[in-house]
């Protein structure tokens, strides 16, 4: 097509950006509203009496009735939702029935643990998964490919909680290679001043290298396990993206130019495969954040997953709503971010953005 065929009117650049931003904002808002409604409704049909969760089994009726009203359970459903919505919009997620603290405080306390775990895991998954996928693609059909495939399949197929227990047994109890459950040994707990809540970061910034080492030896096993699972996914996707890219004409062009093979693989093809890979990695990151529920149980990791499970089982609906919103927000945020990265990596999209 020659340069001027699309001579039709194009709307200006600025309104287009505005249009896009508005659209994204509307999408996000809608998604959130949906999340709120669904979680709220679930919270109301759970066959658990939230009053009991607050007052326990033995309280007399008078206490029961008072708490029932305190929790606003006497009002009609839509009114409860409306009140909740208003509060959320003003940034108040309410108090947890169980911990008696503001949900925001609770989440600020538990979330960094999960974030740290998931981040280390995704780093492990990416650093291993991408090269493995590339390698498998380059060696398609050969032994290396099969090895990577089997490794990946094992990662897909084994129940994580089982692997976690076995891992603890082997690497902690028998071999003493890693530290046990929990985030840090008590001995170091108070040598780190918690600022970000990410203990690795906090200890490193404060120069507490011994504590850093301890935190590391605690996180390495659960993170490796989670990382293994994302590695399985990432390497599989990398392989298929790379196969796709390596079959493209531009790869032949590069060969014709005399570009060495390593450069074709790692610069030309991978650079193109990176575009969809970003989304895959972002997605597995988000999945790790939520998928750590099981790992957290096994490793006594005081994170969001445990908080949420516990809140759900006790019908602590404010806590459930708050955490779900946070996780939803992370999903949406990661999606937006991967879109953004997508457009940074892919000049074809960048132009339009």
């Amino acid at each position: 097509m020659s340069d001027d065929t699309d001579g039709g009117g194009r709307t200006g650049a600025l309104p287009r950006i505005l249009w896009k931003v508005t659209k994204i904002a509307a999408t996000v808002a809608l998604t959130f509203l949906g999340l709120l409604v669904v979680t709220f409704l679930i919270g109301r049909v759970v066959p658990v009496d939230p009053v009991l969760a607050v007052i326990g089994d033995r309280a007399p009726k008078s206490v029961y009735d008072r708490v029932f009203i305190e929790l606003g359970l006497d009002r009609p459903l839509y009114e409860q939702f409306w009140l909740y919505l208003q509060k959320v919009l003003s940034g108040d997620f309410g108090q947890s029935f169980l911990t008696k603290r503001d949900i925001a405080d609770d989440i600020a306390r538990v979330f960094p643990a999960t974030l740290e775990l998931a981040t280390v895991a995704i780093l492990i998954g990416t650093v291993l998964g991408v090269p493995m996928g590339v390698w498998a693609a380059v060696r398609q059909g050969r032994l290396a490919d099969q090895v990577v495939r089997v490794l990946g399949l094992v990662g897909y197929s084994a129940p994580i909680f089982w692997l976690g227990l076995l891992g603890l047994l082997v690497f902690y109890a028998r071999l003493h290679w890693v530290a046990g459950p929990g985030r840090v040994d008590i001995a170091y707990e108070y040598s780190i001043t918690v600022k970000t809540g990410l203990l690795l970061l906090d200890s490193a910034m404060q120069g507490e290298w011994e504590a850093f080492g301890n935190v590391m030896s605690h996180i390495i096993l659960p993170a490796s396990l989670l990382g293994y699972f994302s590695m399985a996914y990432i390497s599989r996707m990398t392989r298929s993206f790379m196969l796709n890219e390596l079959a493209q004409e531009y790869v032949i062009t590069a060969r014709v130019k005399g570009v060495p093979e390593w450069r074709i693989i790692w610069v030309h093809a991978l650079r193109n495969a990176a575009v969809p890979l970003v989304t895959v990695i972002a997605l597995s990151y988000a999945n790790l954040l939520e998928g750590s529920v099981l790992t957290e149980t096994v490793f006594a990791w005081p994170g969001l997953g445990q908080y949420l499970t516990n809140s759900l089982q006790n019908a602590d609906m404010n806590a459930v709503l708050g955490s779900t919103l946070l996780i939803g927000a992370i999903f949406v945020g990661l999606n937006l971010m991967s879109d953004l990265l997508y457009s940074l990596l892919d000049p074809r999209v960048r132009r339009q953005a």
Partner: protein
């Protein structure tokens, strides 16, 4: 038979608008074969698609047999007008056998004697009964295009829209398909509206043609004028020169 008057087609995509067709008018007589030539992206296909309701008309009018066409097109319209697409590799459903491809339109329009009609349609396009239960991947490009033509003809339409029916085919197979189309028109008295970027093909097939550039019809020519290289616009002359093959000096 066909009247297109001031046709405009505008596509909106995201924040973009593309004016693909900008005020094209022409008329095709009953039994005539009319051609549209032009380069890639000039809007040829869009004219055809707008005519049969597959693309949105933003201005102008299209009519058939003197009657304006309403959107969406009626079932009766589809019995009169059928289309053959450019790429035989993309115009057959990969999971449908030839038999299924041909029987479906019959089922939709409630035709009787289906078995007979299918066999006859296959025979007409020069495919034996042995092709009836094949899948597209078991057919060559030329054979596929024959199936596509059979599919278009099985509803016994009066007008056939041909969107570059041979441009994806080798020269030798192109000749066979063009001959087939020629024969069918003669036998059935069909009206053709044919799009191509190949001047030679259009001049072989059509009595009259228009030349399109950037969504506009820049020139209308008869076959005789084309054969005599009597083009009026620069653009058409360039097309003509290019179709001669390579000439070292800038012409």
């Amino acid at each position: 038979m066909i009247t297109v008057d001031g046709l405009e087609v505008t596509f909106r995509r995201g924040g973009d608008t593309v004016r693909a067709v900008r005020g094209v008018s022409f008329e095709v007589m009953r039994g005539e074969s009319f051609g549209i030539v032009g380069e890639s992206g000039s809007g040829k296909s869009t004219v055809l698609r707008a005519f049969c309701g597959l693309a949105p008309t933003s201005a102008g009018s299209v009519a058939m047999g003197g009657q304006g066409l309403q959107t969406p097109r009626s079932a009766a319209f589809f019995r009169q007008v059928q289309m053959v697409f450019q790429d035989p590799y993309a115009s057959l459903h990969p999971r449908h056998t030839v038999d299924k491809v041909l029987s479906e339109p019959l089922a939709i329009h409630g035709f009787d004697r289906r078995e007979e009609r299918i066999e006859q349609a296959l025979a007409e396009v020069g495919l034996g009964a042995g092709f009836r239960f094949r899948y597209p991947h078991q057919l060559s490009g030329g054979q596929r295009q024959r199936v596509a033509i059979a599919r278009a003809l099985i509803l016994e339409p009066q007008v056939l829209l041909l969107d570059e029916p041979t441009s994806a085919l080798d020269a030798s197979i192109q000749a066979e398909v063009l001959n087939l189309l020629d024969r069918l028109r003669a036998e059935r008295g069909l009206t053709y509206l044919m799009v191509s970027h190949d001047l030679a093909v259009v001049s072989h097939m059509c009595e009259r043609l228009i030349v399109m550039q950037h969504g506009r019809a820049v020139e209308e020519l008869s076959r005789a004028a084309l054969a005599a290289h009597r083009a009026e616009t620069d653009y058409t002359r360039k097309l003509l020169a290019a179709s001669e093959g390579y000439s070292p000096a800038p012409g």
